[in-house]
Subunit: 133 residues, 2 copies
């Protein structure tokens, strides 16, 4: 077993074999999205330098940007004290959110208890994704 495989095996995956990965912009440190990886997609993320995830709803591997071209180039991989969460710094091509915002976290709770859209849309999802999501 390589040193890398050993380090990845030392992480704590949940009962479904998944670990959450928080993706941040390497330049601004802005949180872009959170998605889930398993051992295989994490290894691919590190070996290819592009983020790969496991989709819990679609039950399949996906590479961020495989359809939109909005790939994420990995700059650094961190883990936390409990080794049950990842933090990954990336250079984001295009935008992270499939709804057209740079970050998926584009809604803020206001003082009336309502979610307000605070992000600026930077692309039109209809022109980027041909298939219905």
């Amino acid at each position: 077993m390589t040193q890398l495989e050993q380090s990845l095996q030392g992480l704590k995956y949940d009962d479904a074999g998944l670990i959450p990965a928080i993706i941040i912009d390497a330049a601004t440190k802005q949180v872009l999205m959170m998605a889930y990886m398993n051992g295989q997609s994490l290894l691919e993320t590190i070996q290819t330098g592009k983020t790969h995830f496991w989709s819990r709803s679609r039950k399949k591997y996906w590479m961020k940007g495989e359809e939109s071209g909005h790939v994420q180039q990995v700059q650094a991989v961190y883990t936390d004290c409990d080794k049950d969460t990842l933090l990954i710094e990336v250079v984001q091509q295009g935008a992270a959110c499939h709804e057209g915002f740079y970050s998926c976290f584009y809604r803020r709770l206001d003082e009336q208890g309502q979610w307000q859209v605070v992000g600026e849309p930077i692309f039109d999802p209809k022109s980027v994704y041909k298939k219905a999501k």
Copy 2:
């Protein structure tokens, strides 16, 4: 039902009734930690202005800083496109990590595939936590 309760009910909780909350420093935007909330701890977080979580291992509510004094004062609450993850901006008292680092994400994967400690310890856990964790 209040507007706030309605907004929080519109979030997607997992099968255990939990939603992951990414905590970031309001000033630097650095990711400090990730932990899980349920509907009740999220409501308390918003109403008290201090982060409250649900501990999956200890099966109990906890307020960040209840033992260490390292509380987190909430500045803003965001959710993502899928409404299944929270992003919370806080002013952190002391440090976020119970191991003495400012951020829990103090380990980076190096080119040899090993986790390296890159965070600076800022307090001694033994002097802050009286009870064994």
